[in-house]
Amino acid sequence: MEAVSSRRFDRFFGSPLNGLLLLLTVFFIYPFVVSDYYIDIAFYFGIYALLGLSLNIVLGEVGLFDLGHAGFYAIGAYTTAILNTHFGIPILVLLPVSALAAGLFAYLVCSPIIHLRGDYLCIVTIGMGEIVRLALINNPFDLTGGPNGVFGIDFPSLGGPFVIDSSIEYYFLIWVIVALSIVGLLRIQDSRIGRAWNCIREDEVAAGSSGIDVRYYKLLAFVLGAALAGVAGNIYASKLMCVSPESFTFWESCLFFCIVLIGGMGSIPGVLIGAAVISLFPEILRPFAMYRMMFFGVVMILMMMFRPGGVWPRKRREAAHE
């Protein structure tokens, strides 16, 4: 009996179309049956999914240890915050601007350090992220508002009377962006770029000697990853209406790192699962009150014990671990 039902399960979910339809149905019904609080949780799930996808480019696809990703996220958020509050530029116009700013920043800071390997690259990205955060706290040129941050960021306007200002609208905004990113990233995965990235991850020396411009593709991953994190920063800033350096700590970078590893390196469905674990578990564990973060830590350890390759590892080839 069990075998039959499991076969049915396989047949239903084995076809990607059915699974997708089910997900879409849930996606559209969900915000209309739950309260704003749960819609907001789903919104933050979306933000973490986007950030996970952005780090997945660097860490999952190319295997570069980036523990300073919150720095790029911060650049995106602060670009939006400063340009919107000082010059009144609309949020959605700033969306590509934030992406560009974060991408450019990544290009500038990563160019000199891209030759570093493994843990040395890791600590340099940590340092980069911390420098960004500390610089924001120190309020250079009176732009970032110091530890308090920047207040009074607008809602995104779609033109005319259409303004995104409720939880449910933000929910659709972030998930539409996540969906578009996923489509784009799936296309990249199957392209020359994606194959070059994976090749570098599996064996950098072999990739270089096969004519792949290792430096170029690594930088490309950093720039794209940072740009996507910048997009997340833009939405996050307008949702919160204020940004402060506390949101962009080393701890956040560690969470993004966990999203990618819990889900499975380089796997896009995995990233979604990882983001769900990171954003939903602290909520699920709320009844444990002050013990909840302890349980959260235990969950992380257990997941790595039982699914060391991630919950949904990339199918196409064996994920390589050093």
């Binding site: 600590i123 980069m128 610089a135 072999a206 590893l261 390196m265 830590g297 350890i301």
Partner: protein, 303 residues
Amino acid sequence: MGVFLEQLINGLTIGSFYALIALGYSMVYGVLKLINFAHGDFFTLGSYIGYTFLVFAVSLVTVHFGLWGGLAVALVVAAASVALVGIAVERVAYRPIYPAGRLPAVVSALGASIVLQNAIMVIWGPRYQAYPAALIPNVHLQIGNIHITLLQVLILVLSFLLMGILYTVIQRTTFGAAVRATALDRDTASLMGINFNRIIFFIFTLGPALGAMAGVMVGMYYRQISFVMGWNYGLKAFTATILGGIGNLPGAMFGGLILGVLEMFGAAYISAAWKDVFVFLILILVLIFRPTGLFGEKVAEKV
């Protein structure tokens, strides 16, 4: 000149905290190639156990050993208890995950760090705790026009003593040779009859114990401890480890001391608010020009 020397001594004091913590990172990394994110929390835990000991038990101890003896026993108690915790964390959170590779172990280490940090918060409360001022020597020394405290001298002497002992054990004894051999090539070392589990036991007792002692010293030096401080000290110590060349013990010691001195000079001569930025910039510059740290050996990439 007086200010310069004072800042140098202040820097060395902080640097010796970083160095003691960095040794734990470096030993674990050397043998397991694992960045032990929970290490900063071992440091915090040591600080809190030292605090509890000083608050509740020191009057009992001082009767037998005197005030100095009491402080010394506090250090030993903190080191011993945190060493036990270190072993426990290794057994529960790391050992089952080694075979899966390095990256899952990083997540597990972060999980262990969250558990420890929140356990400390649950046990001792989320507020700052103050070390009992009456128990800590508050003697100021003046040499020429340099003002330092007796506590700083003691911290420096003790840290250098501990580092010296560890260095001697690692570099001069047979057991130290076994540790180095394991760090170099675990499989070959095992074939030569080195018990890998004993090496693990050693590094996961000694590393956390050194971190715990640094924690107690930080408590005495700054008088104030908080449950999140391990994160910051851990990050600095990890930076120090990389600065010196990861897996290289003398490198970790010098990296810590250099980092502390840089931080103090940055605070004194550039700007207190930008001192950490200064430290990280120096780190990045060093790594751009010496990609394996100041004392790291040139290792050919394996193909």
